[in-house]
Symmetry: C2
Subunit: 229 residues, 2 copies
Amino acid sequence: MPAPLSHPDVAVDLVVLTIRENQLCFLAIERGIEPFKGELALPGGFVLPDEDLHEAAERELREETGISGMAPFLEQLETFGKPSRDPRRRIFSVAYLALPPNAGSPQGGSDAASSTWLPVNAPRNRLAFDHETILEHGIERARAKLEYTPLARSFCAEEFSIGDLRRVYEAVWGVELDRANFHRKVTTAEGFIEPTGGPPRNGKGRPAQLYRSGPEVRELRPPLMRPRN
Amino acid sequence: MPAPLSHPDVAVDLVVLTIRENQLCFLAIERGIEPFKGELALPGGFVLPDEDLHEAAERELREETGISGMAPFLEQLETFGKPSRDPRRRIFSVAYLALPPNAGSPQGGSDAASSTWLPVNAPRNRLAFDHETILEHGIERARAKLEYTPLARSFCAEEFSIGDLRRVYEAVWGVELDRANFHRKVTTAEGFIEPTGGPPRNGKGRPAQLYRSGPEVRELRPPLMRPRN
DNA sequence: ACAAAAGTGTTGTAATTACACCCATGC
DNA sequence: GCATGGGTGTAATTACAACACTTTTGT
């Protein structure tokens, strides 16, 4: 095992997703410093000497979004290490996917000139570095995990209607789903959601029964597959 | 973005899987140097200054197994970065899953006192560092990918019978599958396998028709789910 | 002939779809 | 009343598991 010839840095970059106005959105920052000053990028930063990767991702998420209390969904995506990916020097980036609960307006972080939610489908300039690739990976991971895990709950508030949950699936997958069949599937999947027992929520149309997350389950069984054709 | 206070190293570690005598096996090395000298570990090594992560994984695989010609299946698993995971200093490990084609006897590498294939289910001492965790992740990834990707082909030789393919599934999942239904499923899944057209292969029992990998497909449709209960 | 493995047919059940229909509210 | 979204019923289709059965070889 030859010793390495130089010492790189390791950063975490975050794909933070949420639903706003029935659209899947990601958190982008406008870079306040060179390189790529003024361009759009994903939030992120260096891993500190005594931090685990997951801790670093949590800290960056807190700094960029102001989220503090509840534990958000946070999962490692993939690590990027092309020598030329950062023009300054060799920096490895460990990408994370984050789904903040009840995501509100993000806060400006220390290095972020500003941060905003952008719909993933809206036209825009390419992101800095290789962040366009990282974002695509994050979106695809979220889409895939909706199928066979209870991930969709993480996009919702603590209490939600089945309609809310359906609109999450529709926004993330970009499809329309049959209301009736969706209702049966999610109420049948064991441990996915459970009724609050509280009063229904009024709005347009018939009031909706409210649900919360069911007991801890990794796998959604049976899975909820997205339409393939 | 504060600058990091110290510079870590980045290594790749490999979960190399193959089937030997109908058993799922992984490649282990006996460490020739401290720390953990004499103990079992996964093959791996540092990423060199001008290497991409994938290139480093390919190089380590070549050095440890002697594989050179064909491109093996090689996919990034996950990155581990707990500050205490290496007693020497801070080392990030990017884990890869590798499935060498026609895996033969591995070659001893430069730092490896010896390397051997060990059945994943046989009792043995714990692996050094956090490699036990990495191995578990690799095995679980392989098991999951058999379901919805054509990964199983990567465990087979260039030409294989449907029985060969079934024994791959059985070894990796640790279950018995119905021969009849398996045959139908894999021949129905579009693009998975195609007949060679050549003569059947003799052995015990009725000669088996031979197949090779079908056209490039990412997804197996319909998927081949493992039994859940 | 027999064992062994490949491969096909059949049948009952479960899952999925598509869509009709009723329910409870706001306006 | 009407629009809107929530929720249930149902029939046709499709997928799936279980297992009986036939085929083709080696011994």
